[in-house]
Symmetry: D4
Subunit: 146 residues, 8 copies
Amino acid sequence: MEFTIYLAGQIHDDWRSELREKAKKKGLSLNFVGPQENHERSDQIGEEILGEQPGKVFMDDAASDINNFRTELLLQKADAVIALFGESYKQWNTAMDAGIALKANKPLILIRPESLIHPLKELSNQANVTVETIDQALEVLAYVYE
Amino acid sequence: MEFTIYLAGQIHDDWRSELREKAKKKGLSLNFVGPQENHERSDQIGEEILGEQPGKVFMDDAASDINNFRTELLLQKADAVIALFGESYKQWNTAMDAGIALKANKPLILIRPESLIHPLKELSNQANVTVETIDQALEVLAYVYE
Amino acid sequence: MEFTIYLAGQIHDDWRSELREKAKKKGLSLNFVGPQENHERSDQIGEEILGEQPGKVFMDDAASDINNFRTELLLQKADAVIALFGESYKQWNTAMDAGIALKANKPLILIRPESLIHPLKELSNQANVTVETIDQALEVLAYVYE
Amino acid sequence: MEFTIYLAGQIHDDWRSELREKAKKKGLSLNFVGPQENHERSDQIGEEILGEQPGKVFMDDAASDINNFRTELLLQKADAVIALFGESYKQWNTAMDAGIALKANKPLILIRPESLIHPLKELSNQANVTVETIDQALEVLAYVYE
Amino acid sequence: MEFTIYLAGQIHDDWRSELREKAKKKGLSLNFVGPQENHERSDQIGEEILGEQPGKVFMDDAASDINNFRTELLLQKADAVIALFGESYKQWNTAMDAGIALKANKPLILIRPESLIHPLKELSNQANVTVETIDQALEVLAYVYE
Amino acid sequence: MEFTIYLAGQIHDDWRSELREKAKKKGLSLNFVGPQENHERSDQIGEEILGEQPGKVFMDDAASDINNFRTELLLQKADAVIALFGESYKQWNTAMDAGIALKANKPLILIRPESLIHPLKELSNQANVTVETIDQALEVLAYVYE
Amino acid sequence: MEFTIYLAGQIHDDWRSELREKAKKKGLSLNFVGPQENHERSDQIGEEILGEQPGKVFMDDAASDINNFRTELLLQKADAVIALFGESYKQWNTAMDAGIALKANKPLILIRPESLIHPLKELSNQANVTVETIDQALEVLAYVYE
Amino acid sequence: MEFTIYLAGQIHDDWRSELREKAKKKGLSLNFVGPQENHERSDQIGEEILGEQPGKVFMDDAASDINNFRTELLLQKADAVIALFGESYKQWNTAMDAGIALKANKPLILIRPESLIHPLKELSNQANVTVETIDQALEVLAYVYE
């Protein structure tokens, strides 16, 4: 049985590549989807497709049109969601995606460092499992196949 | 026709009181609900009801049990949601509540300062309306009664 | 038993007032809701609440933010929907509202002149009842109380 | 990952063929579905299967029975919807299909010429993305695969 | 606590009046809704509101438009459904209403004579309770108030 | 694209075999499912699996347990439903299955002889298409592939 | 704002009366519903309404018909559920009701003694809050009104 | 047509292996999923992935996080559920899983010994079929393929 996992979280470093490689090494039959991982491309996709916008607000909104289309399409295909939080960036879209996943009955794994226990306590409490590392998240997924 | 509005957002200042008073002055038939507004009470409610917990993580989780019960109960009663973001605090539960509201088909008004346009662009794009002040949010609600 | 009826359709003449008055005369216990009926107000509400926008497209989008918030909030409160089409105006939001009502399992009465039978045939076929006049629509509603 | 896209819109010209060919050239793994594209066949399918009807209204209704069966079956199989509007034809079924797609949580791309910004503003505001050309719509879909 | 009960079944005799009176005597706080109970009115309502139709099939279809609007509106307001079957009439709309009620998660009481056990076995098996008399159905409802 | 079609209706003659063979000849990529077609087996399956029951009522109920398990499992897998009515038998489970299909948003084709127009008018009015023969039902399905 | 709370659990002692009285003393605007609390009545209601059954299995099944009708009707009216477990009785219907409540998105408070932590760990983990006493459950409900 | 069946129940003996082997011998195209069947592993998985916990309650809760993630993921993939009860163990998670399955419209087969008729009567009454042996459950599944 193959599962599709949506990887919610920041797109400033390559945590998804690390996760995908480690999943591959474990031989897990998982199909990972997620947002555009090239940050610059993600920010500019609105103007690239829709043309120049009248200022920063509208450029951001145009990019979000297309990024949200992608997220909605892929999230609805997912069997489960991993949401990763780190110490940098505001990560409000990660929290929003997690909220959407919770209401859509997608089982949710939260990855967050110990330092973020307090501000993420309500989200952690609603997630199925909260872990601190990518390896732990993959151990949870591997457990489903045992 | 009376509407129930859930007020998602931080609980460190009295923005909800301000909003409730202004709604009253405008004569709007609105019933506001939301999280516990006493921050200390909110953080300690877990230990207050469930007894001492073995450390900070578990104290936070116990509080979240009860705060999330409250939020789930009141959010499902709400006809619409206002989510307010400011420049302080992590506000991840605000974003999570907004995500849940979106997926639950609750019309959503986002209040955020101009400085947060970029990090909230995906959430703003999915909200029905994004405004910058409490007064504007109330004008949106007042418009429904015109 | 009181019912709430959403009145979808153009806002260029006073067909809703006529309908409300006739319902009153019939003594029907109906509560009518619908879009902003002042056309100019409806078009300008975006800039009135959100401030000046950078051009017509953005002014329209800002107005739609607020008009769609109103529609979503009121439509979800409705027990049934009346969608009226006439020979003037594009009326695409009427058709969109009707589609949303159909998918949301709101019983739907379509009012349209004989001249529009062909272009409205798919919508008419999915509506519960298609009539040609406001009086007929009210007879359908009155029949529920017999 | 393959996606099924429902193509809502008029059936008087071959815009769907153009879109399908361009998607093929881009190498996108997309499966397109939609209404009957032969306009005469679409109008006459009622009488062709169900036999002669007592007049134009009933002939239209019989055709709609079968066209709506097709649309409902294919739309529910779709992962996303493209709705195209042009300057000709009433296109109310396009708007109704878009409304159904919105309520069924199918991500929606709207294609419309600049001239239709105002009458489509509510629909555009609810769609995930609004573009002006078929090429832009395909760029949005291609972006999901990046 | 008041409950609304939809009374599905034939409209050729006054079983609903009997049920309503008996409920009143028992002092049950129940609000009964159901189809038009005047059989002639029910059959002719299509032509009465929509005008003369081209033959019996179309007259029946016009009446069903309006009767189904009524049923859909009232059934969605109901907390539970009673479906009564007798030895006369085809009663396919009773069975269809029962099927709709089952899928809509409305608790269902089936009333049927002993002679119909075999042909109603699948429906009886899915109903919450199957009884043989109106009095028994009311005893079930009265039990909820104990 | 392959579709699964549930065939609701009586199990006293071989109309499903006829339909399956005709679909095969037309080259339609359809997968048909439905109830147990061996009538005796269907009536006795309860006692065959669960052992002797204390009388006819309980034997019927035991059979319905298993027949309803089968129907629920297969109906939820179906993309569309065909419900066939004839002049013999009570066929209440056909009407119940049709009601369940309607509420579950499964597109519905009704097959019924001209003689049953009046008693099936409400069901016919809610079905997507009503035809009189198996051949017509297959023409509707074939039309989806054009 | 008044809430309706379903009280799932055994019916062998008067814990519900205790809870209702304590809620009253606290002045909480709560409306409690639940199963029949007279155990003998609950076991015999099947035969009392439906007549003598052919043995214990069928008597139990008849009673369950009516008890499940009551539970389904009242549970769907509830805003939240309290499920109480004690050291006696099998209490499988309590666990089933809790499972139904979880899937129906009813916020759930679990009351269980310390001795049952291990066997109830999966249920406790899915409940919003787990407490050990009726007083604690009421403190959670009271907190919603703060 | 292949079906996925979730096997809810205790994990202290090898009833699932027996069921899987017997299904294989019957040549049924079934894919069985279920909880971790190694009891010790199931109890310790929390600490194994998440690290040492501050006591038994928290160790149990950590294990349940991960076991519930597995159950939620697999149960949503299942077409039907078998819930087996025996005379040993509390088996409350079996009853909870059955309740979740009922509300999620998964057809349910209950396996329980004659001795448990009374305490399981409400659950049995809501299940599609109740049998006493694994062989009978497989006969029910085999019947779907006839």
